[in-house]
Amino acid sequence: MYAVAVESLSKSYNNIHALQRLTLNVKEASMYGLIGPDGAGKTTFMRISTCLLLQTSGSVTVGGFETRKKPSHVKRLIGYMPQRFSLYQDLSVRENLIFFADLFGITKKERLNRIDELLSFSRLGLFLNRRAGKLSGGMKQKLALSCTLIHKPEVLFLDEPTTGVDPVSRREFWDILADLKRGGTTIIVSTPYMDEAERCDRVGLIFNGSLFAEDTPDKFPEYFKNELIAVRSPEIVRLARKLDFPDVVLDVRTFGDRVNLTVSNALGAVPVIEQFLKSNSIQNAIIERVNPSIEDVFVGHMKNE
């Protein structure tokens, strides 16, 4: 059975179509990543699934209950972290955690363990008595995440949870999600971080209110319409912006030690690149084919729109 089943879901506000027949299924105890630009419909989808908004047509079923027919059943199963989560600014870190634990009916004994676990990822242990309003941006985000995770819901909806969270905590936060999943929680998460998408069991790319690709992360290279080559050399990075060959190089992406070039035809592009390297006296550069990532597929699609 699917933990979440979305059937031809549409939502229109006046004449804006936020969702257009969105269909997707999420297996129990799996992690589903939703990727898309701002305004693609991710938040609207989450709000309908968590019974905060009514759709124009179509249906969402969570744990066997349809959101429109059985909202109170659905609400009991889910946890939701909206993009803008409001903490109690004048309560301390500790008080916020306890408040949300009480709200979800967590026993005192469970609570201690859970809070410990969450503090190890959030690194807020030294700041338990600080008022939430005085925390840094990323610390607030981590506290909000902790408050959402304090109970272990069956289905968890997370809307861009790690925006503003530093790389160390981000990695550990994803380890916690992996633990929850192992414990049976189904997780649906939207994110602008493509490395996070790679950690999901399935990924859907959403644009204009419906999916344009959906698969397991390892299958995404097949959705890439062009070819991708990397030019490795520390000097090339500095010159990346000069790689301006409109018909040959369709996109340039810079990394620390290389640039990735999207080309329509690798065989035709290589001589052009070699000539460029030569005229800029770059020696020992390595040109090689690379596998496109989810980000490459996403950006490739968006540029064609």
Binding site: P37, D38, G137, G138, V165, D166, P167, R241, T254
Partner: protein, 252 residues
């Protein structure tokens, strides 16, 4: 100001009560650099930026920005820099154009200066279509551009960007960095914080902050060599996790 540095901080410190948010940091940034100011959550990045931009007064140390003293000449600093805060503070119920006019007023621009700046920016940032829309109703990527426009309309020589790309999709992030490079090529100094480590790779120099202190500083390629890591993300995780262990030990 000595040796072409446009930002200088010397033992810069900020306490809140008996908590030290920024703990004696010393660094300098040269004209035209793109300087990446990285660090763990709560490390003190925003607090440092607020001191450098003349919004918050240090409790110790000193510094200068664009040749002005950050304690005695805060007003002059504010007129000579552009600042984009962590939360893109736009007035959601004002249009894009009204937001620009509001911030232009703060920077002491005349209405004539503002209208010529607007013309230039609409074109350069490709914003013509959204100028009459309410800031609250436009997508995040456009909000980000609008806040950038607000911060650069008075032609500042130094730009402070506090997490300008938080939550923005990859395509908008890249477009944003193209603009940053253009600005930098025209001689503007860019001081930027980010939690996206791919962006850190684009910076000329970066520093990494942890618990109020700068724990490393240098060119990304050089740092990767020094710590024998493949990416800046790996360098960051390595240094910050180690520093965490030390902080915890000294607290026990």
């Amino acid at each position: 100001m000595n040796n072409g540095n446009v930002i200088e901080a010397q033992n810069l410190t900020r306490k809140f009560g008996n908590f030290t948010a920024v703990d004696s940091v010393t660094f300098s940034v040269g004209k035209g650099e793109v300087f990446g100011f990285l660090g763990a959550n709560g490390a003190g990045k925003s607090t440092t930026i607020r001191m450098l931009t003349g919004i918050l007064t240090p409790t110790g140390g000193k510094g200068s920005v664009a040749g002005f003293d950050i304690i005695r000449e805060q007003e002059k600093i504010r007129r000579n820099i552009g600042y984009m805060s962590q939360k893109f503070s736009l007035y959601e119920d004002l249009t894009v154009e009204e937001n620009l006019a509001f911030y232009g007023g703060i920077y002491g621009m005349s209405s004539k200066e503002m209208s010529s700046a607007r013309k230039r920016l609409y074109e350069r940032l490709n914003m013509g279509d959204i100028r009459r829309r309410l800031a609250g109703s436009i997508p995040l990527g456009w909000k980000q551009r609008t806040s950038l426009a607000c911060a650069i309309q008075h032609n500042p020589r130094i730009l402070f960007l506090d997490e300008p790309t938080g939550g923005v999709d990859p395509l908008s992030r890249r477009a944003f960095w193209d603009i940053i490079y253009d600005l930098s090529e025209s001689g503007i100094t860019v001081f930027v914080t980010t939690h996206y480590m791919d962006e850190a790779e684009y910076c000329g120099r970066i520093s990494i902050m942890h618990a109020g202190k700068i724990i490393t500083i240098g060119n990304p390629t050089v740092l990767k060599k020094e710590y024998r890591k493949k990416t800046i993300e790996d360098v960051f995780i390595y240094l910050v996790s180690n520093a965490d262990v030390q902080t915890n030990q000294s607290n026990n």
